[in-house]
């Protein structure tokens, strides 16, 4: 009986091998598909969380001025006029212009901000101080140096200055945190002056209820309710406000 037992065993093994040979490629395809789906959903989640503000075609098309590098070697900024449908709401409008700035110019050489940097949040406080929260890539991917870091910040402040008159000062956060420097040089502990003149009447009083041209004072800078969780009172912009600093 031994030989018969062997035949059954061998036969069984052959069937198992054939079945595995058929099944393994199918399994491999399924694993690959699952991995791809997971990757897609992660990317989808990231995009949903950091979703750029969609351009609303109903918004009036205006000529927005965006500041990119005029010459990568010369390290100066030049305005580029781009026709965009921009919201009248200063917060949405700021997000739209900053996302366009982050997306970069046609010529990648003129880029001032890292391509993987994202704007995570943007608020405007009643006194005209805006808070822009960028992803860590802004700090980690930017070329280190005074000249490159200053150009990055200047491109942000000058773009806001040209397009959102309600923003008077800008505080930059990295991933929700106040940081000492952008990439080892440029001081981010204070605020940057954006618009020095009197702000225009806010289009959406609910968002910017009391914009004035008065200089910020820490005591008067109590954040409004929607942003009070973002800044602690002793970190309120104005502490190191640099009133005369123009980019």
């Amino acid at each position: 009986m031994t030989p018969r037992w062997k035949y059954w065993l061998i036969g069984g093994l052959v069937i198992v091998v054939i079945a595995a040979a058929i099944y393994f490629p199918i399994l491999r395809r399924r694993v690959k598909r699952a991995a791809r789906l997971q990757q897609q959903s992660e990317e989808q989640a990231r995009r949903e969380l950091t979703q750029p503000i969609a351009i609303n075609p109903g918004d009036p098309r205006v000529k927005a001025k965006l500041f990119w590098a005029s010459d990568a070697i010369d390290s100066t900024l030049a305005p580029v006029t781009v026709e965009l449908p921009l919201s009248n709401d200063p917060v949405l409008r700021s997000k739209q212009v900053l996302n366009t700035l982050l997306a970069g110019p046609v010529d990648a050489e003129s880029r001032t901000l890292p391509p993987d940097a994202l704007l995570l949040a943007f608020y405007i406080m009643p006194d005209g101080t805006a808070i822009a929260d960028f992803s860590e890539a802004l700090a980690t991917s930017i070329p280190s140096g005074i000249v490159s870091e200053q150009m990055a910040v200047n491109s942000i402040t000058r773009t806001l200055e040209a397009n959102v008159p309600q923003v008077q000062r800008l505080k930059i956060l990295i991933h929700g945190q106040e940081v000492e420097t952008l990439a080892g040089h440029l001081d981010l502990t204070g605020t940057f002056v954006v618009n020095t003149g009197p702000a225009q009447a806010p289009v959406q009083p609910a968002t910017t209820p009391s914009v004035t041209d008065k200089p910020a004072t820490p005591a008067a800078d109590k954040p409004a309710a929607p942003v009070s969780g973002t800044l602690t009172p002793d970190k309120a912009p104005g502490k190191l406000a640099q009133p005369e600093r123009k980019p």
Partner: protein, 265 residues
């Protein structure tokens, strides 16, 4: 919290007696033209009594230059081709800057000697512990026209009210901005003579290192780590060192240390 600390200049005298010249000087009314070496002794010198530690009495205001090779330790700064690190290059530059300054008769204090990374405040504290010093922080950029050098002074800061000679640490640079600009323009002038394509005057930027420094303070940034061969940068070192030393010498007569310890300039 460091930012809430206050620095008193008279306390600074006590911090580092071996490096502190115990001199004061009255106002020198005339400012020499850029490039004029500090030949004659400053006017109205009133040498003070010896310090409590008996440090030697010297005359003249500016005697010390604090040289800060930026970055270091775990912070390499800008990284370039072939593993070039800003932190290493600026340390080598600092040696040449020190030599050039010593030839001009300055005492040089470095914020770091090796591959360590003092904090911004520690580096500022090294300068703030001196009297009659200027501060120069050395950087190599990642961008900009290779072979050029730029001088930066801190952007405007809110003014500091003179409250018994004490100034807030986090805005220690505020009373010195005018002096920093004068010093920066002088150094930039010498750099531009040497390195064509550099700006004509010092520029302003909110450089973190300068903000907490209670002395005329400038940042010198050289372009850039993108050069293919490090020798291209090394060749710039003598010119940079010479420009800083000549700038400090030209600035010396116009730097007036207040007669009263603790008074702001």
């Amino acid at each position: 919290m460091v930012r809430l600390l206050f620095v008193a200049f008279q306390a600074a005298v006590m911090v580092s007696p071996s490096q502190v010249p115990s001199q004061t000087q009255q106002a020198a009314p005339s400012t020499p033209a850029p490039g004029t070496p500090s030949a004659g002794s400053p006017q109205g010198v009133a040498g003070s009594a010896a310090s409590p530690f008996g440090a030697q009495v010297q005359q003249g205001a500016l005697n010390i230059v604090v040289v800060d090779p930026a970055h270091g330790g775990t912070d390499p700064g800008a990284r370039g081709t072939g593993g070039m690190r800003e932190s290493e290059i600026v340390l080598d530059f600092a040696i040449q800057v020190r030599r050039a300054l010593e030839l001009q008769g300055f005492q040089v204090v470095q914020t770091r000697q090796g591959n360590d990374n003092p904090s911004f405040d520690d580096r500022s504290a090294t300068a703030n512990a001196q009297r009659g010093a200027v501060f120069v922080t050395l950087h190599i950029s990642s961008t900009g026209l290779p072979g050029t050098a730029r001088v930066y002074v801190n952007s405007d800061l809110p003014p500091v009210a003179n409250s018994n000679g004490m100034i807030p640490w986090d805005r220690a640079q505020a009373p010195f901005l005018g002096l920093s600009k004068t010093f920066g323009d002088l150094v930039q002038g010498f750099l531009t003579q040497r390195f064509k394509g550099s700006p004509d005057a010092a520029q302003t930027a909110s450089v973190r290192q300068l903000r907490t420094t209670a002395a005329p303070a400038i940042a010198v940034e050289i372009s850039s780590v993108t050069v293919e061969d490090r020798a291209d940068l090394d060749r710039m070192a003598p010119g940079v060192a010479d420009a800083i030393a000549r700038g400090a010498a030209a600035f010396k007569p116009s730097y007036v240390v207040p007669r009263t310890p603790g008074a702001l300039p």
